[in-house]
């Protein structure tokens, strides 16, 4: 055991002067770096969708809406996501049986207008 005394961190403090800082400025490298498995904005594949609407039922915040603009036989699927409501839990991805919903690593959502937050996937 070392002796008690003040200033025990001085060694670390002096060492850190010559090391790279742990922090970087936001977007310092020109883009946001996220981890590989990070849940970002949803992606939608309308051709796979069977209009079961399980994702709408399971969504905790009611952020996603699936709309069929065509007829029952000739589907024209559309998904509308309110990014302001979405909590990126990806329950819809888990609920989807056909794999038409996936998540991407896109995390840049900030918009100046509230209306721009509702996007068509």
């Amino acid at each position: 055991m070392e002796k008690k005394g003040p200033g025990k961190l001085s060694k670390d403090a002096l060492k850190n002067l010559f090391e790279k800082p742990a922090t970087t400025s936001y977007m310092g490298n020109g883009k946001i770096i996220v981890e590989k498995g990070y849940r970002g904005r949803l992606q939608y594949n309308p051709t796979k969708c069977i209009n079961c609407k399980l994702c709408m039922k399971d969504c905790p915040t009611g952020a996603i809406t699936i709309i069929n603009e065509g007829t029952k036989e000739e589907k024209k699927m559309k998904a509308v996501l309110n990014v302001g409501h979405c909590i990126f839990c990806c329950q819809c991805v888990d609920s989807c049986n056909t794999g038409s919903l996936t998540f991407s690593q896109n995390v840049d959502f900030a918009r100046l207008n509230k209306k721009d937050l509702t996007v068509e996937l």
């Binding site: 399971d58 905790p60 990806c90």
Partner: protein, 403 residues
């Protein structure tokens, strides 16, 4: 300065104060620097989440429960999942239980590192604060790449976990926690030898074993008072039935004891993670759980980083729960705070409050509306109209503003 009573001064700490992370009002009565009385006011953060759970399906509730606490999110969702699995009579695959334990211990590491940082910040030891948070960031990166998010990882689902723990993830985890182990050893050494740190923590906010039992303290607060009580040992759940957990206790019964307990717990967590990764069985990671849960009642206890989480769920055979009750550890530790503050100094108030690792929004279950003569209760529409009228009176027309 209107509230001077002879030589007593009452100063407010909160609802807004630099040392509080969330709003809570402490009214501290001082005699010089000595605290003679402390009145605690909570209820600024009531979110009505128990009621919200009742009006949503179980699958949606999982995400509400996970967001009860930002730091111990996994502990809450584990407790809720265990409750539902018990109600539905599902046996969770052992591999999923091991993964839950690994994530829970990673969460304990990041929670304790966060606490160590904030505690050091309260006593003006900012360099240590930066170092611990730098290390915590590594764990958050791990959890983000495995779970999918830094804080609300969303690892749990009913009947198991969402993602498998593959080789690369486990080697990443081992690499990071080995490096962290050295750092934690170094922090322990500093906590045991740095005199300025010890002088600020030793003998502060004492809650003796007797008082801890009286006020019902849990988690590191109780462990620091020498109470050997930990749900992982006392009533093991999931993979803790197979994994050996060493219970950490200390006899200081003060803030220093709580610091030491938390640092030793971090070392213990690292051992548990290593053991779990080594002994993780192969197999399925989830079992199927029906949408409708059979009627029944269940009470689950889970050891969160801050103490024990108690979840009560009553189901009525539909896909929505009848009643959900969440008791966060702060609710138990809360009662002792007033006792800890009395007799201390003003300088020790922030660190004493911080030492229980309070999480006010997890705790608040009600709002106290003080109906005096000048108080009005308004609903949302009235409030909106009131604010529009108020601004009009000030000469600003909200409707004409272009944003």
């Amino acid at each position: 300065m209107s509230n001077i009573d002879k030589n007593k001064v009452t100063i407010p700490i909160g609802p807004q104060h630099p040392s509080l992370d969330e709003p809570a009002a402490f009214s501290i009565t001082l005699e010089g620097e000595k605290v003679v009385n402390a009145v605690i006011g909570v209820g600024y953060n009531h979110r009505g989440l128990e009621k919200a759970c009742e009006s949503r399906t179980y699958i949606q509730d999982l995400y509400i429960v996970e967001r009860v606490c930002g730091i111990c999110s996994h502990a809450h969702s584990t407790a809720f999942c265990i409750s539902i699995e018990e109600l539905a009579g599902i046996k969770v695959p052992m591999r999923a239980e091991y993964i839950r334990v690994i994530v829970a211990e990673l969460e304990r590491l990041h929670s304790h590192l966060l606490w160590l940082g904030t505690a050091c910040h309260e006593i003006g030891y900012d360099t240590m604060f930066m170092y611990t948070w730098r290390d915590r960031e590594k764990i958050l990166d791990l959890l983000a790449s495995y779970g999918g998010n830094r804080i609300n990882y969303g690892v749990n689902k009913f009947g198991g976990v969402k993602r498998d723990f593959d080789e690369t993830t486990s080697s990443d985890v081992i690499k990071t926690i080995n490096k962290l182990d050295d750092n934690i050893k170094h922090y322990l050494e500093i906590a045991l030898t740095e005199t300025t740190l010890i002088s600020r923590l030793m003998g502060i906010g004492v809650l003796s074993r007797k008082d801890a039992l009286k006020f019902g303290a849990v988690g590191p607060v109780a462990k620091a008072a020498g109470i050997d009580y930990d749900i992982r040992v006392a009533e093991p759940y999931g993979a803790y039935k197979e994994i050996p957990v060493k219970l950490i206790t200390d006899n200081h019964a003060d803030v220093y004891g709580r610091t030491v307990v938390r640092i030793f717990e971090m070392q213990e967590s690292i051992k548990i993670i290593k053991y779990a990764i080594k002994n993780m069985p192969a197999g399925e990671i989830s079992a199927r759980v029906p949408r409708r849960i059979p009627a029944g009642e269940v009470l689950t206890r889970v050891e969160a980083p801050r103490g024990e989480n108690i979840h009560f769920v009553r189901s009525n055979g539909t896909d929505k729960p009848d009643r959900v009750r969440v008791k966060a550890p702060t609710e138990s530790n809360w009662h002792g705070v007033q006792h800890m503050l009395k007799g201390g100094k003003l300088a020790d108030v922030p660190i004493t409050i911080a030492a229980i690792d309070p999480c006010y929004s997890c705790t608040d279950r009600a709002i106290v509306v003080n109906t005096g003569n000048d108080t009005k209760i308004m609903d949302w529409k009235q409030l909106r109209q009131y604010s529009i009228d108020w601004y009009k009176k000030e000469g600003i027309d909200i409707a004409a503003l272009k944003l």
